[in-house]
């Protein structure tokens, strides 16, 4: 059975060019970049190149603003914890209700440890409530952390506008750009964003490498304390091969940006429209918001997401669900709940996330397979009535 992989917001395949770039660093070029000898020292040179490639994709003013980390979560944690160190005395932190757990859970933890955390709501399309956001900023605010694009719906926040509002108030601004890097243009040199996180494995680099961008001049305190690596901003011997891979992946992402926003977007739109046209009582979550070109979050009324995923799995189709049963928690995704998606829809949500490697044939295959799957589950469901109306007592 062939795999039809449409779960790229979860993780993506390592690009063949990336793998090729990495391989020498496992056998020929295994030196430690910190070593005094040429054998190790040459590796440091190659890491500098990778840093430049990342800086280029992000439009950073200087490669020195790039700190390599182990993952997106480490980057998020580093940025937020750094702000709490450097802004000592300030006790207020701001975020949104729809963040990735790397930020959401950390904020929850800080909220229990003396910090006052404000979670800005979103509307039914997943758009940030900018009025509430403006009101939330105060003298006591240490940091704002807002995701650039939502991993579940692809909804894009106006992070630049949000960052400008912090600048005049001397508040640090961090954004989790894990889902947006490589999919939409980022230009940090003309931005008010102070810190930004990305993750390698979401843009065809391997798992286990990430980046924290820290604007030059930003107050900063390291999270991982140790050696002098990354200019003393992140201790620990460099994950050389993965860093080289991430550099290459960033270079490729820059080249593929146009393809991502035209061809991939067209495939996503075809998939979405194809499914909506064939499945009654289905809808796109966050469809009214500005969105990433690759993400589609579709809800099917009266069925449950995990059951859909497992039936799709029988055809090799890979996607995700925001249903309670998928996550092991008992409630549907916090993102869909924050958007006020009715529970008749929230439990039956499926996220398709495409990449440049998807083809039109794959999209056609999914459009063909999904409708009968939904019908099969609806036939089993006590809430589904043949005329397509949800039972009024379905509470």
């Amino acid at each position: 059975m062939t795999t039809v992989y449409m779960d790229n917001n979860a993780t993506s395949q390592v690009a063949p060019e990336v793998l090729e770039a990495m391989l020498p660093y496992f056998h020929d070029l295994y030196g430690n970049p910190s070593s005094a000898h040429t054998f190790g020292g040459q590796v440091a040179h190659n890491i500098r190149e990778a840093r430049e490639q990342v800086a280029d994709l992000l439009g950073a003013a200087s490669p020195e603003e790039i700190i390599f980390t182990s993952c997106g979560s480490e980057s998020d944690n580093t940025a937020i914890m750094s702000a709490l160190h450097t802004e000592e005395g300030k006790n207020h932190i701001v975020t949104s209700r729809v963040e990735h757990p790397a930020v959401k859970v950390l904020y929850g933890h800080l909220g229990k440890n003396g910090y006052s955390a404000t979670e800005i709501p979103v509307d039914k399309e997943g758009r940030l409530d900018m009025d509430r956001y403006k009101e939330s900023l105060s003298q006591d605010t240490a940091i704002v952390s807002l995701m650039w694009a939502n991993n579940e719906t692809g909804a894009i926040f106006p992070v630049e506008e949000a960052a400008q509002l912090t600048k005049s108030r001397d508040i640090l601004f961090h954004t989790d750009a894990v889902q947006s890097a490589g999919k939409i243009p980022i230009d940090l040199k003309n931005s008010s964003i102070d810190m930004l996180s990305i993750s390698g494995h979401k843009l065809h680099a391997p798992k286990g490498v990430g980046v924290l961008y820290v604007r030059k001049g930003t107050r900063y305190a390291p999270f991982l304390i140790g050696g002098h690596q990354e200019h003393g901003r992140r201790g620990g011997t460099e994950n050389v091969a993965s860093i080289i891979g991430l550099g290459k992946a960033c270079e490729l992402a820059g080249k593929h940006m146009k393809d991502e926003n035209t061809r991939v977007r067209a495939l996503r739109d075809k998939l979405e429209q194809g499914i909506l046209a064939r499945v009654p009582s289905s809808r796109v979550n966050g469809g009214g918001s500005e969105r990433l070109p690759n993400t589609s979050n579709i809800s099917f009324e009266s069925v449950e997401g995990e059951a859909i995923l497992l039936l799709m799995d029988e055809f090799g189709i890979c996607a995700s669900s925001g249903s309670a049963c998928t996550s092991g928690s008992l409630q549907p995704s916090h993102v869909l709940r924050a958007m006020g998606v009715p529970f008749t829809m929230a439990h039956g949500s499926i996220r398709f996330s495409l990449s440049i490697y998807n083809t039109e044939e794959e999209v056609d295959f999914v459009i063909e397979k999904v409708p009968p799957i939904i019908q099969k589950l609806r036939d089993l469901s006590p809430f589904w009535k043949p005329e397509g109306q949800v039972c009024a007592s379905g509470t």
């Binding site: 009266s302 069925v303 449950e304 997401g305 995990e306 059951a307 497992l310 039936l311 029988e314 249903s323 309670a324 049963c325 998928t326 092991g328 928690s329 008992l330 409630q331 549907p332 529970f343 008749t344 439990h347 036939d379 089993l380 469901s381 006590p382 809430f383 379905g394 509470t395």
Partner: protein, 274 residues
Amino acid sequence: MWDYTDKVKEHFLKPRNAGEVQDANAVGEVGSMACGDALKLTLKVDEKGKIEDAKFQTFGCASAIASASALTEMIKGKNLQEAEKITNQDIADFLGGLPKEKMHCSVLGRQALEAALANFKGEALKEQEGKIVCECFGVTDLEIERTVRENNLTTVEEVTDYTKAGGGCESCHDTIREIIARVREEELPAVRPKLSNIQKIRKIEETIESEIRPSLQQDGGDIELIDVIGNRVLVATRGACAVCKASEITMKSLVEAKLHEFVSQELVVEEVKE
């Protein structure tokens, strides 16, 4: 991805008895869409009390569908008395086990069966009379108590896995903890019922007669019960025992041990010198 058994997968991919029994005379509906899973069980019970047909409709995940499918297989052809005895663990066992986070699917099956049987008899469900503990998922104290008891649960996490209670806002966790403590307390080894004085003396005499005297007599000794004052058992030794220097040890090691075993832990044996 959940680690489902082949049997769960099979019942999910090819559910048995899906749908509604058209001339059903027992219907059980449990769960809700808000909670994320719901089950409607329709049964046809014949005049002899045998479940002739059973069908289900499920809104829920793979294990909810598999549990309902399994349940219908388990109850078809059974009489009501047999069906009544089916527990959620039986459903999970039938499927070769469920991931612990999914045990609530088997509980949903048991609840639906119970609701259908109550519906057949025209009774109200006992569990529904309880007080709501978990507002998020509408779970009552009686339902939690019962599940804790039947599945020998000890933590809030387990209660959540089995009933969903506590899986939402978490504000009911203290109450769940109290319920667990209450049930656990009930299940401490039953304290031997308090004996009346007459019963106690009679039991002491019986124990001496059947458990103690024979072994003393083997050694040429004997024992006589003089009096019982509260928990003090006054005895006198006779024959070989009376002159035996080890008699005090005999008392402690044999008589008292036997009385503790057969009558009460609280008894203290004292030897009376005449």
